[in-house]
Amino acid sequence: MAGLELLTDQGYRLDGRKATELRKVQARMGVFAQADGSAYLEQGNTKALAVVYGPHEMRGSRSRALHDRAVINCQYSMATFSTAERKRRPHGDRKSTEMSLHLKQTFEAAVMTQLFPRSQIDIYVKILQSDGGNYSVCVNAATLAVIDAGIPMRDYVCACTVGFVDETPLADLCYAEESGGVSSLALALLPRGGQIALVQMDARLHQDHLETLIEAAMTACKGVSKVLDEVVRQHLQEASVLSRE
C-alpha cells in the first residue's frame, strides 16, 4: 500500500525493526497480592495486566457448572485512556466480547481443566496502553498470570500477530502497521508440541502465502515462549531465595 513505507528496501520497518524481529518483552509476575495470580507484560508500547482468580466455586448460576471439568471465564477490557482516541466504554462492546471469547477458547485448550470439575477459573485481562498486537499481549500476560496462580497447564501459551507485506511476513505488528492495511494473522501456539490453540485472520491473503505466514507466526511464538520461560524461572528463583531466608 502507498503512504508510509511499512518495509523499506533495506528491510527495515517503521520502528527500525527487521521483518522477523519481535518487540522488547518485559514482564513481571505476582504484581497484585490479593488476586490468586497476576502478571504484567509489556511488548513494545503495548501494556497488559492479567489477573486470575480460581479455581473456585461457580459464581452465579450453578447450572452452568460442568460435571467433568472447570469453566474458564475470561473478560477482556481496555482502559479508557489506552488508545490515542479516548474510548468511552472499557468493555461490553462487540470487539471486547469477541476478544473475551477468543481468550476463553485459547485457554480451554491449554489449562488442564479436568482436574477441577464443577469449578470456575476467572481470567481478567486489562490493556493499559494499546499499540498493536492486543490479543497476543493479552494471551502472553494471561499465561504468566495462570502460572502465577499455580493452575496446571499443558504448556505455555504464546501468541503473536504477523502480517504480510511485499512477499515478506512481518512478525509482531505495531498499531501503525496493523492500521496500514496489512493482512494480519493472530496465532496462539503451545510451543513444545507445536499445537495451535487459535488462528484468526480477517483480511485477504493468497492461499500460497498462508503457509509461510503461519510458519513465521510459529517461529515468532517460539521466540516469545523463550522469553516467558526466562521470566518464570527468574520469578521462581526470587521467590525461593526469599523463602529460604
Binding site: F32, V51, Q75, F81, K126
Partner: protein, 291 residues
C-alpha cells in the same frame, strides 16, 4: 469491594485495639499505610499517575480534548470523571458489577474537583463560548483494600500535576472563522496549578474513636464514615457521610477536626515528592508495574 468476612471475636479485638490507639498492623489511628506515587506511567495520555496505598492500587489517566464550554459558564473549561472498577480488583466487578460503585465514586469526584476553587478552570478556556479544554480524568481501580477515596484523590492530584496540555494559537482564517492550531513542540506545553487541589480524607468511626485509612477489615467493624476534602491550607471544601449507621453531631465535629489535621499534613510531602520526581527529568527510571 472485595468481600471480607469478619467474625464477632475479630470485631471485638479490632475495637479494643483502636480504643487504645493501636490497630491490627501496628499503626496509630491517624497513620496512613505505606503510599507509593509515580507519575507518567502511561504514555498515551497527557498526564497519568499510579498510587499504591497498602494493597489498594489506583491508576489515573488524564486526556485533554478540545470541546465546547458549558452554556452557563462560557469562559471556563471543565473536567469529566470516569471511574472504572475493573474486574482485576474482585470478580464481583465483572461485567456491570462495578458500575454502581464507579458511579458513586465519580459523582463525589465531580463535587470535589470540578469547581473554580480547586483548579483554575478559566485557564482551560481557549475562546469564550466556543472552545475550551475538557480534561477527561479516567480512574482505573486495580486493587481494592479499603480507603478508595484517599488513594483516588492523591492519584488525581498527581496526574493533574503531571498533565501537559499543548499550547493553542488562535488565528482567523480567510472565511472569517477561527482556526485553532495546536503547538507541535513537545516542550511547549501548559501546566496546571495544583496548589489548591484538595485531597480527600476518609475517617471511619469505630467504637468511640475515628480512624484514618481503614482497611477492609476495619471498615467491616465501623458504623459510618465521613469523607472530607481538605486543601493544603486546611480549608474544607466538601463533606459527606457514608455508611449504614448514624453519627452524633459531636463525633462529626471531632472527625472534621481530625480530618483537617491529617489532610493538611498530606499535601506538603506529596508536592515535595512530585517536584522531586519532576526535577529528575529524563534521567528518571520509569518503574510502573515492573518494579
Amino acid at each position: 469491594m472485595a468481600t471480607v468476612q469478619v467474625s464477632e471475636a475479630e470485631k471485638v479485638y479490632i475495637l479494643h485495639g483502636i480504643r487504645d490507639d493501636l490497630r491490627v498492623d501496628g499503626r496509630s489511628c491517624e497513620d496512613y499505610r505505606h503510599m507509593e506515587v509515580e507519575t507518567d506511567v502511561v504514555s498515551n495520555t497527557d498526564g497519568s499517575a499510579k498510587v499504591t496505598l497498602g494493597h489498594t492500587a489506583v491508576l489515573v489517566g488524564v486526556k485533554a480534548e478540545i470541546g465546547k464550554p458549558k452554556p452557563m459558564i462560557p469562559n471556563e473549561g471543565y473536567l469529566e470523571f470516569f471511574v472504572d472498577c475493573s474486574a482485576n480488583a474482585t470478580p464481583e466487578f465483572e461485567g456491570r458489577g462495578g458500575e454502581e460503585l464507579g458511579t458513586e465514586l465519580s459523582n463525589t469526584l465531580y463535587k470535589v474537583f470540578n469547581n473554580q476553587h480547586s483548579l483554575d478552570l478559566r485557564s482551560l478556556c481557549i475562546s469564550p463560548g466556543e472552545h475550551c479544554w475538557v480534561l477527561y480524568v479516567d480512574v482505573l481501580l486495580l486493587q481494592c483494600d479499603g480507603n478508595l477515596y484517599d488513594a483516588i484523590s492523591v492519584a488525581i492530584k498527581a496526574a493533574l500535576f503531571n498533565t501537559k496540555i499543548p499550547r493553542v494559537h488562535i488565528s482567523s482564517d480567510d472565511g472569517g472563522g477561527k482556526e485553532i492550531e495546536l503547538s507541535d513542540d513537545p516542550y511547549d506545553r501548559m501546566r496546571l496549578d495544583v496548589e489548591n487541589v484538595p485531597c480527600i480524607v476518609t475517617l471511619c468511626k469505630i467504637g468511640h474513636r475515628q480512624v484514618v485509612d481503614a482497611t477492609l477489615q476495619e471498615k467491616a467493624c465501623s458504623v459510618a464514615s465521613l469523607i472530607i476534602s481538605v486543601t493544603h491550607k486546611g480549608i474544607i471544601t466538601c463533606t459527606r457521610k457514608v455508611g449504614r449507621g448514624s453519627l452524633d453531631p459531636e463525633s462529626i465535629c471531632e472527625m472534621t477536626e481530625a480530618g483537617k489535621r491529617v489532610g493538611k499534613a498530606l499535601h506538603s510531602p506529596l508536592m515535595k515528592l512530585l517536584q522531586q520526581e519532576e526535577s529528575l527529568g529524563k534521567k528518571r527510571q520509569k518503574v510502573g508495574f515492573l518494579g
